[in-house]
């Protein structure tokens, strides 16, 4: 084991059963070069203060549960290394803009409700039986939506988006990226069903193209692109509905 040095980790603590509002607490954590912020927090929980609350599981940046603000930036704590934050102190806070349930744990329910609302499943363009085998899809067709399938639902983009912070009804970057993922899939024919969600004020029109969402996304989903390219689609739908009453965008 490499020789550990100490680093100061300050955590914004909040416990709804006895704290009126969040407050900072500081911990000294022995830290080696290969330690992630998550491991630092685990050390606190295991050895110093078992009451610290945070979510984690995979520790390999794929389950999406360990998002938090590290020195003011939305990060996956399992993918952020203490060596890059030396000499400290490191300031850790629950993901910005989201309601804190406790310590570093935010409310995910609002996000999941939105995710459920956008029909995030394949609505087949042409139905097909299992016996007919798989739909054909060329690598080029796959490339048109693959990037948007990489979203791990970590909500870092929500913590990055001030428009979401100002109005939590905004569907937001991550969920719109997922919506677009299905719209852009060559097998899918559900765009018309999803269009009303994009067309709403809480859909693409709450976005001011701040663009920070894409900057912080750990999986290069580029949610800002998903949102903003759909403004043109929504605008077309706005005017074309007078021509084609069903309002079906191409």
């Amino acid at each position: 084991m490499p020789e550990p040095k100490n680093i100061e980790i300050c955590v914004l603590r909040y416990h709804p059963e006895h704290d009126p509002e969040p407050a900072w607490r500081s911990y000294q954590v022995p830290c080696t070069d290969d330690m992630s912020v998550l491991q630092g927090l685990q050390h606190i929980k295991d050895e110093i203060d078992g009451t610290l609350g945070f979510r984690w599981s995979c520790r390999m940046a794929i389950c999406g549960s360990c998002g938090m603000m590290v020195n003011g930036k939305p990060r996956l704590s399992c993918q952020t290394f203490l060596r890059d934050l030396q000499p400290g102190p490191v300031r850790i806070e629950a993901l910005a803009h989201l309601p804190i349930e406790r310590d570093l744990i935010v409310d995910v329910g609002e996000f999941v409700n939105k995710l459920e609302a956008i029909k995030p499943y394949l609505i087949p363009r042409e139905p097909r039986t299992l016996a007919e085998g798989e739909y054909l899809q060329t690598p080029a067709q796959l490339e048109r939506f693959e990037q948007y399938t990489s979203c791990i639902n970590c909500m870092l983009c929500y913590a990055a988006c001030p428009e979401y912070g100002l109005n939590r009804d905004f569907i937001g970057p991550g969920v719109i990226a997922l919506l677009h993922r299905y719209n852009a899939d060559s097998r899918d024919g559900g765009q018309a069903q999803r269009q009303p969600i994009l067309n709403a004020e809480e859909g693409v029109w709450s976005c001011m193209a701040v663009g920070y969402c894409s900057e912080v996304c750990p999986k290069q989903v580029d949610p800002a692109n998903a949102v903003n390219q759909n403004k043109a689609v929504s605008a077309r739908d706005y005017f074309l509905r007078f021509l084609a009453p069903k309002g079906a965008a191409p």
Binding site: G53, C63, K119, Y121, L136
Partner: protein, 598 residues
Amino acid sequence: MDVAEVDVAIVGAGGAGLRAAIAIAESDPSLSVALISKVYPMRSHTVAAEGGAAAVTQAHDTLEAHFHDTVAGGDWLCEQDVVEYFVGQAHQEMVQMEHWGCPWSRKPDGHANVRAFGGMKIERTWFAADKTGFHMLHTLFQTSIRYPSIRRFDEHFCVDLIVEAGRVQGLLAIEIASGGFRLIRARSVIIATGGAGRVFRENTNGGIVTGDGMALAYRHGVPLRDMEFVQYHPTCMPGTGLLFTEACRGEGGFLLNKDGYRYLQDYGLGPAEPTPRNKAMELGPRDRLSQAYWHEKRKGRTLSGPHGEVVHLDLRHLGEKRLRERLPQIYELAVQYLGVDPAAAPIPVLPAVHYTMGGISADGLTAAPLAGLYSAGECSSVGIHGANRLGSNSLTELLVFGRVAGMEAAAYARTVPHGAPTKIGALAEEARARALAILARPSGGERIATLRREMAQSMEDGCGIYRTAAAMQATCDKLAELQQRYRRVQIDDRSRVWNTEWLLAIELGFLLDVAQAIAHSALSRRESRGSHQRLDGFAERDDAHFLKHSLAFHDGDGPPRIAYGPVKITRSQPGTRAYGAAGEQADAERRAREDVHA
């Protein structure tokens, strides 16, 4: 306590649990389903699977070949009728996933692509880049949203099953956000809680993989089957245990010792050829590769790193372009976590615990020997992995047997009424009191982390890649001691809202039970088979005495009682498990034998 009433309750919303839920919802929308998970479904550990899912696909491949690979890979401890069903259903399930939108990687002609995988004779592993489990899990989760009959209980931690009148009638869960209890009454229950890798120190599993469901069933008298078979994955990241998928080797990666030598050729896996040949060298089965590492380490031919002895996984010859295209996540992991650019330098790796072959004993239709209880996924021992799982069989298992479990549990639910509310309520009260008692333990007791650390270290020492009676006995003794100390485990946090420490304490109880089942099953198996390898005079497979499933029964406060059950052999008589050139010869001989019989 809040009470919900459903037809079928599913504990676990990973690949297996979600597949089961969808199967029920699709076949009979009038049945209500409760889907309970201690994390949001998309955080389940299926998300971490990288390599792919096996299903016979190519014209020159056969179900027969997949069957033989699986049975031989499992060192003949598989239920052969179940394997037969499994390989037959696999392809259809992959197509079903495709119809649900899974972004499988494609060939230029638009058909799904397949890749080579360890121990598989022919390329038959479907993959979605190197994030197969991630894509499968998200596809299943998102598809499940379409069905209104599936009622999710996200971030609900199941603490006990309710067994009354000889059958399962529901479960008790803690709503984590409030710390309140919820009784979910059900006519049948499916357990799909995943593996138990966290009983070991160095492992590839997420923090939530703590064997909960296994322990829940076990405590209610259901035996845990074949628990001694724990798979070590040969290529993991030192220190964290993070996995470098077998696909690295499927794509052509080499394993080198400190002299830059492809040492696997010294362990009956050769000849060493420049490109991967299925079932040889780096594409041999995981148990053999992990064992070879152990020998190299003993011979002093490994490299010393800050987190122990390592060998090198060399991907340099694949080139940056191919690596970024085919193994993007691996590329990222190596660069970020190790500071190694795999296009420029070999990656240090070592074996780590990866998969529990055993689990809740289940018949070929996923039913446990307790009425109304079913299991699917890694927590279940339906009988397809035997003594060693082949990579990419397990994701397929989630689908094939997730579906079966759903159909079976639904069928059973239609035949029985809900039990008497008062009796069930009383049982739930007792379970609730037991869970709350942990919160009320006096201070000054044992720390959770200490017990967990000692358990994991002891499991690694006694039940690692190679085992001896003395070391296993020491582990058994240690576990008995830890069980005693667990009664004095103490937690700092006595509140209710999001009390994760409370849940960790309960999980530790599950872990210790599962650890005991593993260690005692291992100690009792006096032979070497698959992933269970002994050095102390039992280095050979012993079909005369041990071509049997081990069954660990919970036995009060004492250690488990170990019994044995028969193995179903249909077409494939136990033979030598050989790989590389020797394997091809053995295969030819087997075919010749079978031709004579036919």
